[in-house]
């Protein structure tokens, strides 16, 4: 397998732009992301315990914290070093830092060995990847790293959200993040049509156990094939 992104400078530049955005807003963004999502809580609670957990796009590690209740160790991976720093602070404050390893990386070129992850969450991150090709590549990478019997929860923002009334197909957009003081920072999103979400999962090779739409997000519980 070779994920060298050299052939697509546009994808690389666009991913770098997403990274730059989150480096800029990291501290404020993380402070507004205090609580784990209920959908993630119930997913993690239903999963069998395992050895290694993965929070892909971990941000401030609020979901890594949940994974740490089910797995011996947790890897928190994010594109933004600024967000990883907020994750480290949370882990120290809440006492799961001895189980957590942080990793600066890209979800489409996941730098982890195959068949090593027992439990993963890939929540509210997929929609920041700049092209369909990279989004499917990241789902295929998740399939590759999941251990046999391992399970993951994938979510993305969808056209089912009231904000996107009037859209019945997936589309690219930017959503502003407003920093204290009023500076808006544009963030790239691909808003998924639920059928398109299913199609991308299918194409990635992941095996889908369950697919739902909740609070305007598409969710899928997936396994490796």
């Amino acid at each position: 397998m070779d994920d060298r992104p050299d052939g697509d400078p546009s994808r690389t530049a666009r991913t770098a732009a997403v990274k730059a955005t989150y480096e800029r807003i990291a501290t404020h963004f993380a402070a507004t992301r205090e609580y784990a999502w209920p959908e993630v809580k119930s997913f993690v609670a239903d999963c069998p315990p395992g050895r290694v957990g993965l929070d892909l796009g971990c941000g401030n590690c609020r979901h890594a914290e949940l994974l740490a209740t089910r797995t011996d160790r947790v890897v928190g991976l994010d594109l933004s070093r600024g967000l990883l720093a907020t994750g480290r602070t949370r882990a120290r404050e809440r006492g799961f830092d001895d189980q957590l390893d942080l990793l600066e990386g890209d979800a489409a070129t996941l730098p982890l060995a195959s068949d090593t992850i027992d439990l993963a969450v890939y929540v509210a991150t997929l929609h920041h990847l700049p092209t369909r090709e990279t989004r499917i590549a990241s789902l295929a990478a998740l399939e590759r790293v999941l251990a046999p019997g391992g399970r993951a929860l994938v979510s993305a923002w969808s056209t089912a959200h009231p904000t996107f009334d009037g859209h019945d197909e997936g589309f690219d957009t930017t959503v502003d993040w407003t920093l204290p003081g009023g500076d808006p920072v544009a963030r790239f999103y691909h808003i998924y049509d639920p059928d398109e979400f299913d199609a991308d999962l299918e194409q990635s090779g992941l095996s889908v156990r369950e697919c739902t739409v909740s609070s305007g997000n598409c969710y899928a519980v997936v396994e490796s094939r």
């Binding site: 397998m1 070779d2 994920d3 060298r4 992104p5 050299d6 400078p9 690389t12 530049a13 991913t15 770098a16 732009a17 990274k19 290694v52 160790r73 890897v75 594109l79 070093r81 990883l84 390893d101 942080l102 990793l103 600066e104 990386g105 890209d106 070129t109 996941l110 730098p111 982890l112 060995a113 195959s114 090593t116």
Partner: protein, 64 residues
């Protein structure tokens, strides 16, 4: 990063294993060093205990 993480880290480019060079430790924690791909030779820094395994052209300071 804990030393045990090395077992599951791979090069983002070719998924080959990495070897650790110039490591500095604080107990079991690796606080700095360099991860080198056993296949393509690409070098990835560990800074402040966090490995940077972004593909080289996505690293900070790399012109996009």
């Amino acid at each position: 990063m804990n030393e045990s993480l090395l077992e599951i880290l791979r090069c983002p480019l070719d998924k080959a294993e990495l070897t650790l060079e110039d490591a500095e430790y604080d107990g079991d924690e690796i606080v700095s060093g360099t991860l080198v791909c056993t296949e393509c030779g690409e070098r990835y820094p560990i800074e402040d205990g966090i490995p940077n395994l972004l593909p080289p052209d996505m690293r900070e300071g790399t012109p996009a």
